[in-house]
């Protein structure tokens, strides 16, 4: 039985092998003309708009040609490149840090909003004020060196699992957006993340997950201080906000860290609104895209009323100005790489 099964498998493999070679041959012959750079995107106006934009700005004979050094594309992260529900993944990281640190802080059992996190009481947590949230963030994100924090982040990503999908958080990246990042890079674009998330929370894994190196990640940050510790220089993470890369902070972050206006910008919420406005206001052809979460079955469906990733004003402007809006349910053949 086993032998028969193996033989059958071997025959199938051979057939598949020949088939694969033929396909490969066609692919090679077809070259860039017929190969689909965005296989997880359904055919339709959204995909057409992307391809049309890229073809135009890379066409030297077009009046809208953009030289390679100016091909800057900026991507929001949460809700644009990976999920952001039921809360931002950096939120889960923060909750886990509080629980890990709790044995050293017995007072947290009675102190809000730490108590709420330790008791998984999301209702009490949502009642926390800015001061309380700030205290949680600084306790979990500051008071160590940059190297120590990087180790904590790496360790968490290696072990933590998303509550709905029971998978590492870095599995929950969007396959169509990975293809879009690759397609833009193949066409000479430099791809950047411009996210409200903490920059040092993202840098350890963006290269592997998105092909975006650490130096092309712009995010929120706390202050750093250079110090000598036992004769060795370290950078201490201080409990003080340095920069909030969200909303009107996104164009500021782009100017501070990149120093060029993007020709294409990708977001999914009102926190990306000003980044898209800033991009749209540049000269020549620009491309603005919003991911609209419309797929409760494969991912989530939310927009104007959502406390996380609210998409309201930016959606209105996208509709009135003809920016591209992805209908996740309709436009994406596949959501995650693992599906």
């Amino acid at each position: 039985m086993i032998v028969k099964s193996l033989r059958s498998y071997s025959r199938q493999s051979r057939c598949f092998g020949v088939f694969a070679i033929i396909l490969l041959g066609l692919g090679v012959l077809g070259g860039g003309v017929y190969a689909d750079p965005l296989p997880s995107w359904n055919e339709g106006p959204t995909k057409q708009a992307i391809v049309q934009f890229v073809r135009t700005v890379t066409d030297k004979s077009s009046p809208n040609y953009v030289p390679p050094e100016q091909r800057i594309a900026t991507f929001d992260n949460d809700g644009t490149l990976w999920c952001e529900q039921p809360t931002y993944f950096q939120g889960f990281f923060t909750f886990d840090r509080v629980k890990t640190l709790a044995p050293k802080h017995p007072e947290w059992k009675e102190k809000q909003p730490f108590k709420a996190i330790l008791e998984n009481d999301m209702k009490a947590l949502s009642a926390a004020d800015e001061k309380g949230i700030g205290e949680i963030l600084m306790t979990t994100h500051a008071g160590m060196t940059t190297g120590e924090f990087e180790g904590i982040v790496r360790e968490w990503f290696a072990t933590a699992r998303h509550p709905r999908f029971n998978r590492p958080y870095t599995d929950l990246v969007y396959q169509p957006m990975l293809e879009l990042l690759g397609y833009l890079r193949e066409n000479g674009f430099k791809t950047y993340i411009v996210s409200g998330g903490g920059v040092e929370f993202m840098r350890p894994w963006t290269e592997k997950a998105y092909g975006i190196p650490a130096e092309q990640v712009v995010g929120s940050s706390i202050k750093l201080k250079f110090e000598m510790r036992d004769g060795k220089p370290v950078l201490m993470r201080l409990p003080e906000i340095d920069f909030i890369d969200d909303g009107p902070g996104k164009p500021v972050g782009i100017q501070k860290f990149i120093g060029r206006r993007p020709v294409a910008a990708f977001g999914n919420s009102d926190g990306d609104h000003q980044m898209l406005q800033w991009t749209a206001a540049g000269e020549g052809l620009r491309f603005m895209l919003l991911v609209h979460h419309t797929d409760a079955e494969r991912e989530w469906a939310y927009d104007r009323q959502s406390p996380i990733g609210r998409l309201d004003k930016a959606l209105d402007e996208a509709q009135s100005r003809g920016w591209t809006v992805v209908d996740m349910k309709k436009d994406w053949k596949r959501v995650f790489p693992f599906q």
Copy 2:
């Protein structure tokens, strides 16, 4: 006479052409082995140290091999890539801005330190306190959009001339350092500027002068604010310091903007000391270099006592730890491209 001269020129040209072809042939045959990537550097231990470092970290069989994505090299600007005497070039820019704006500010005629600038009274200017200097900087660098400031900077560089050399400031870049930048890039390094100078004062011209694009320039900055002006988004430059990229600020700037520790760092003053310490403290082989200004004839000679570009503590550490120190007079065959 003209005909004869032309004939002679034509004969010379032909001879030169043949000669050039032979040279080119030798060059091509010689390939990378014999071509000197650093022709403006005299042979000696400094040049040897540079070449040895680059060969080692790019040699896959070496235990000190560094993968390309980690090949980050950071360069100070003032005094390392271009001159900084008799004062920082951004100082000259600032004086010129004060003079340009003076007609709209009749009160400056009697108000220090503006008065000192208008009267070219460097002694009175050097007596100005931090508040006065801050006021001058903010008056000349803030209160306009990023686009307007870029225009002002471009205009200044197009017209201003250095007092000693009577040339555009961007002519006063060091030929040996241009070759070093190119040599590192040919070997897979990403080259960055990490300067105490204003980031938006540098970005408009670093690509052309150094081959370093805007997004690879780290510098000091003032705060920016996103605003809508007549329905168009702008970034206003606010009269408030955002970040000082000097001394202990340089490792901070490197971590904020690049997010990776350099494997090679290049400076010339105590303002670069911590950048070199931070670089040296990384694992594996690292390269630290200081440009020592020893050439009063071709450039300037200054170090421990200089108010501009003081090199004192960093020189001591370089000597005790074996960092590479360029003796400009001895190590550089040529200082400027125009010589």
